[in-house]
Symmetry: C2
Subunit: 221 residues, 2 copies
């Protein structure tokens, strides 16, 4: 197969990954807005939207395998294709987390709201920005931006611990809040996992650009 | 490079994956025994043991990339190598879950035990057997066994929901149990994720053996 054909395949692969990324960002955002603004219809849209993300992951894997089999790529191209498979897997799991958040949000919307937990909104903002920036870093082959994404993961972990302590205190002070506080704790864990997947994607970008494996030199999940 | 050299590389790759699998199984088992038998030294061993798992994932990825670059494998060999990368990622995350369980177990061991939750022990047994069987299915290229693994994931989800309801009831009846019950709920989620990763591995085995993508035709995470 000719080189320009291969280049076109690589471009198409990148576009599909970015399309998947923007779908997944939208799902995560809808799930979080559903929670914060108590809009059940948005949570239901997330549950319906996940199938498209799953289909995209299968398509991306399939493209990658075909390119590996037919084109025998080397060096950077090889890293791009194997990274694309990993990024597809991480994006798919961000979609799963959006679904988990939407499901818990639907349950929470059946009860009166608990006092808003500011830290959850902050966590959500950081995790969503990490996802977006990891994808931007991929598009622009910007390993400096990818490194910035890695640094933000600690902040998310810190907020997660604080959310846990605040909600635990709530529950102990007023057992009537237990079920709702528990739901929010689980959602904070889902957001933490979104940040972890964004971290994985940022690590893939660094590997792609610098051919250097930076995994496990940061905080573990 | 010659074919017999490539065969030797493939064999070495499989051995390293199995080695990683058995390390990860041991970590998960230690974390759960630490919880059930209240043995803090086992939980601490899990925290120390995770670095070896992380190192193995990097090594396996590196082997795979080299084989892809140097050998230009086709068909089954290509699927084996890309599946190995995915399986390595899932095994590494099972290791992360073992660490999460060990950390929570260490916190729980500082307080008197809550009434044992039988369902958590059952979940743990199923999830560990799923992991072991998924790896066995890989070794024996046994897609029937891999399909059995997939079927067991529903049972884990069902137990997870029951654990949640039982512990929620505990917490509401006796707020003094809130912190401990919460720890057990988080551990049940970690076990659920181990089962999810075992499911992913089983799906990779089916793809490897049958060249058929069965993802998302089962229960999502």
């Amino acid at each position: 197969m000719e080189r320009h054909h291969f280049e076109a395949d690589l471009e198409a692969l990148k576009h599909r990954l970015l399309h998947m990324g923007s779908l997944v960002e939208t799902l995560a955002n809808k799930a979080l807005v559903a929670l914060m603004e108590r809009r059940a219809e948005l949570a239901r849209a997330v549950l319906e939207g996940d199938a498209a993300v799953n289909a995209l992951q299968i398509e991306i894997d399939d493209r990658c395998l075909k390119m590996l089999a037919l084109q025998q790529p080397m060096a950077t191209d090889l890293r791009l294709i194997t990274s694309a498979m990993k990024m597809g897997a991480d994006l798919e799991r961000i979609g799963d987390q959006a679904v988990n958040i939407a499901e818990t949000a639907l349950r929470l919307l059946e009860t009166p709201p608990l006092k808003p937990v500011i830290d959850i909104a902050d966590m959500a903002d950081i995790a969503q920005k990490m996802t977006r920036d990891a994808l931007d870093a991929f598009v622009r082959r910007d390993s400096a931006l990818a490194r910035e994404v890695l640094e933000r993961d600690d902040r998310v972990d810190h907020l997660k611990d604080r959310v846990f302590r605040v909600l635990l205190t709530h529950m102990m002070a007023d057992p009537g809040t237990i079920e709702r506080a528990l739901g929010l704790i689980l959602i904070s864990r889902n957001i933490e996992r979104i940040a972890d997947h964004a971290t994985n994607i940022a690590e893939d970008v660094i590997f792609l650009v610098e051919a250097r494996d930076v995994r496990h030199h940061h905080t573990a999940e």
